[in-house]
């Protein structure tokens, strides 16, 4: 067990966990932020996506040691009040069905819009194909990203 100092959503935390514990489980089970989800554990589904220094990572496969000293942002830290343009677009398009994949999708979409404020369909495909939505919300994900970018789809 080792002691790690973490910065999550602008707050500092200290946790005492095994060095090989993935960031996802530290955040969910020790910090108590459960918005990031577990879907596969092998970087296939994207449900666990968080930002490390602004870059999306699969937190199920990111050891805690790789997150020390970096700014960790989870869905809970994206905005105080669901006001991030991506969240607002997601509400407007009524994207979620079961909702389980959505935290991860929203985190990547927020990053995508920072890279490409007006992403093309090709750029959306490239970024968002890291995610699986078993409920099949892909069409609305695309529409919501265009909406957040202020572009009619």
């Amino acid at each position: 067990m080792s002691n790690f100092k973490l910065s999550i959503n602008g707050k500092s935390y200290q946790v005492d966990v095994e060095e090989d514990m993935p960031l996802l489980w530290v955040v969910r089970d020790y910090i108590g932020l459960t918005g990031s989800k577990f879907g596969c554990g092998i970087m296939q589904c994207g449900a666990c996506t968080m930002h490390l220094n602004g870059e999306p990572v699969f937190s199920c496969s990111t050891p805690i040691t790789a997150a020390v000293g970096k700014k960790i942002t989870t869905i809970e830290g994206l905005s105080e009040d669901s006001s991030h343009p991506v969240q607002q677009a997601w509400i407007a398009e009524q994207v979620p069905q079961c909702g389980y994949c959505q935290s991860g999708q929203i985190m990547r979409a927020a990053w995508l819009l920072e890279q490409h404020p007006k992403p093309t369909d090709g750029q959306i495909d490239e970024a968002m194909s890291a995610h699986i939505c078993r409920c099949g919300t892909y069409d609305r994900v695309r529409k919501a990203i265009h909406r957040a970018a202020g572009v009619d789809s």
Partner: protein, 722 residues
């Protein structure tokens, strides 16, 4: 609806709508509504409510209205659509109410299970009666204050009005109203007067699902809880030959390793080993460190053996199901005839939230938090397993990360109860994706054989459809009768077309020890592929247009014909198609709704086939929330494309070969065709939403590929990558 299937799932003894309305509101958290419910016991003696109580509606003195949604929200939108039914009749704007999730308790909330696309259609009348009864009580209370007849009062937006347009708010009236008898036959609104039903409405769970605050089963936590990750017999029947848990026990955080078993209804329990730890990661590492030697059955199952057996069995006649006219005679005499065989695979459900359950058994009481499609059925099974009365079970219903039929089976609930009882602690059982993919229960595969003949005009004269498949009811309930009386196993083969000489037959196939159960749209998901592909084959055999061919088959069914014609119109079927493209049509009727797709395909620059466009028309009667209905159709299309184009679950040496999303792949956003969905408008009773649009997609796709390439693909999944 599938009566035969539902009869096993249905556990509610409630026939009539019960109702209680409250006069006071006690603060309660989203998952702790029960604190308030005791208040409504005062209405228990009311005749119309009976011994059971359905406390759906809370009205505060301030006028604030809370409606308890009776069924789990698995993604299909019940959190909005069921309260909507009550709110419409009660006379409140559904956007102004608070919605809370009920606990699993069918004595209070009636049938709470979600399956068979029946959430809205199955409680369409009953939940509106709940709202209407409350409305009438509020009107009666207001009428007494004003000294007018109750019939002269009307409600609007949480207020009762008299003919002079004076008003009293529900909050002012609720105390008086609660003392009144509950009307036995409250008058329901005429559908033309609906203010909210039928209009797109936002779902109240969506904001929580975009900010991470929606609580799923996997997020549940209680003081003193331990985690359990379980290794189950990989071949479903083999026992443990030897177990070495030394390495597992030495993992930091692992507290214990215990032998346990997996219960799955009538099936033989499956031997398992549980690793108990103070955190999930340690439990998972512990599981990976287990050294278990499993007994291998003398003749382990394999996909090859299963399908060889299906084909061997297909040589027999099987049990006759439907019969009309004289198939044998007309087929023998016909000059244009065709025969074909279709093969459908085993599949996993793969809801994105892996199965999990938190249970705390304390003496003869248990508290459960479980993402489930069947709170009532789970309660019944837990009561039987722990030998306690159902009243001793507190069953919390969190949001559910997808169902698709998988969570109709509460094996993981019993696992958690068994371990909690054994360890004397709250235990959270967590399945991994590998567990979910390899352990089933699976959608059963099948072989379908069809024969058909045309008359001199090229119309369908005779058709025989034989299904060789396992019986889910036999596998789960030992329902021997289902081997010869297939019932829903034959869905939706006989549910649409008028074919003059028509026969269906069923050949039972045993796939023990593979666990099987219902998968979104169940047997319609397999049978429809064969049936609607073959209808296309018959159309082509007579040189007919596939749409016109179907049009003739539906000529005596005005409602379904309209759906088909709308599909032709919206897809531009009559217009010439572009060079190098193909298009196919298919239509089915199941779960109370008729759905059809036109699929368009083309070849890309590398000569590979891609799916360009799907045009869909659905007739589902009254649609309570069109936007949400559309979302369900979108979901059906994606799930059907995944099933048609991605991976099967295959078995070797009795073990599933696929184990996670890298080899049991899902469709992703970059493979999405353009999707256009059109919903028919009418005032017929609601049909199902979650399943009907799935079955016709794969045959429409296969028909489109034939149109493009001339090659008939009769086996799913199809591989378009080569």
């Amino acid at each position: 609806m599938n009566i035969s299937r539902r009869k096993f799932i249905q556990t509610s003894g409630l026939a009539a709508a019960g109702l209680a309305i409250g006069y006071q509101f006690i603060a309660c958290t989203a998952d702790e509504p029960e604190g308030t419910i005791q208040l409504f016991r005062m209405n228990v003696d009311n005749e119309a409510v009976g011994a059971a109580l359905n406390p759906y509606i809370l009205i505060e003195k301030t006028g604030a209205v809370t409606i308890f949604t009776p069924k789990p929200e698995i993604g299909t939108g019940t959190f909005q659509s069921l309260p909507l039914l009550i709110a419409e009749e009660l006379g409140v704007n559904p956007t102004s109410i608070t919605v809370k999730q009920s606990r699993g308790d069918n004595q209070r909330f009636g049938d709470q299970d979600v399956g068979g696309s029946s959430a809205v259609s199955g409680r369409w009348v009953q939940l509106r009666q709940v709202g209407a009864a409350a409305r009438e009580m509020l009107c009666t209370a207001a009428a007494a204050r004003w000294g007018v007849a109750a019939g002269d009062c009307r409600v609007e937006n949480g207020q009762v009005f008299n003919q002079k347009n004076e008003s009293l708010s529900f909050g002012d009236l609720v105390e008086d109203a609660a003392k009144l008898p509950v009307p036995k036959e409250p008058k329901l609104k005429d559908p033309k007067d609906f203010l909210y039903i039928g209009k797109p409405q936002p779902r109240k769970d969506i904001e929580w699902k975009v900010n991470g605050s929606a609580n799923f089963g996997i997020d549940m936590k209680v003081e003193g809880m331990v985690y359990a990750v379980i290794e189950r017999s990989p071949n479903f029947s083999g026992k443990i030959k030897s177990l070495d848990d030394t390495a597992a026990r030495s993992v930091k955080g692992v507290l214990d390793v215990v032998r346990t078993e997996r219960w799955l209804l009538q099936r033989k329990p499956q031997e398992s080993v549980a690793v108990i730890a103070d955190n999930f990661w340690a439990a998972l590492k512990g599981k990976k460190a287990l050294q278990i030697e499993w007994e291998v059955p003398a003749e382990p199952m394999s996909t090859e053996k299963i399908y060889n057996n299906f084909r061997e069995l297909a040589k027999g006649d099987g049990a006759k199901d439907k019969s009309k006219g004289n198939f044998a005679k007309t087929f023998a005499a016909a000059t244009v005839k065709t025969e074909a065989e279709y093969e459908l695979p085993f599949l996993a459900h793969s809801p994105l939230e892996p199965q999990n359950c938190l249970a705390h058994v304390q003496g003869d009481k248990v508290e459960i938090w479980s993402p489930s499609q069947t709170p009532n059925w789970d309660v019944q099974h837990v009561a039987g397993f722990l030998k306690i009365p159902p009243e001793n079970i507190t069953y919390h219903v969190p949001f559910v990360g997808g169902g698709f039929g998988r969570r109709l089976i509460g094996d993981y609930v019993i696992e958690a109860c068994r371990l909690s009882k054994q360890l004397g602690k709250p235990v959270k059982v967590m399945w991994t994706r590998e567990d979910d993919t390899t352990q089933g229960p699976f959608r059963p595969g099948s072989v379908n054989q069809l024969k058909g003949a045309l008359d001199a005009d090229g119309h369908l004269l005779a058709l025989h459809h034989k299904v060789v498949a396992p019986s889910i009811n036999y596998a789960l309930f030992n329902d021997v009768e289902s081997k010869t009386k297939p019932g829903y196993i034959m869905e939706p083969i006989a549910d649409l077309y008028d074919i003059p000489n028509f026969e269906t037959s069923y050949v039972f196939a045993d796939v023990e020890p593979m666990p099987i159960n219902w998968w979104r749209s169940v047997y319609s998901s397999t049978n429809a592929f064969a049936h609607e592909s073959f209808i296309d084959e018959m159309a082509r055999a007579g040189g007919q247009d596939p749409f016109e061919f179907r049009r003739h088959l539906l000529r005596n069914d005005a409602r379904r014909l309209k759906t088909l014609e709308m599909l032709a119109e919206k897809s531009g079927w009559g217009q010439p198609k572009a060079e190098g493209t193909g298009r196919g049509v298919a239509i089915t009727h199941c779960f109370g709704s008729t759905a059809g797709h036109v699929v368009e395909v083309s070849k890309n620059s590398k000569g590979k086939i891609k799916v360009d466009r799907v045009v869909t028309v659905v007739d589902a009667g009254i649609i309570v929330n069109p936007d949400n209905y559309r979302a369900q159709v979108e979901g059906c299309i994606v799930m059907a494309l995944t099933a048609a184009l991605k991976d099967a679950i295959t078995f070797e040496n009795g073990v599933a070969k696929q184990d996670n999303f890298h080899n049991y792949r899902m469709l992703r956003i970059d493979e999405m065709p353009k999707v256009e969905i059109h919903l028919m408008q009418n005032t017929e009773a609601p049909g199902g939403a979650g399943e009907p649009a799935l079955p016709p997609l794969a045959p429409a796709l296969a028909n489109a590929i034939f149109d493009l390439t001339g090659e008939r693909l009769r086996k799913l999944p199809m591989d378009l990558t080569t």
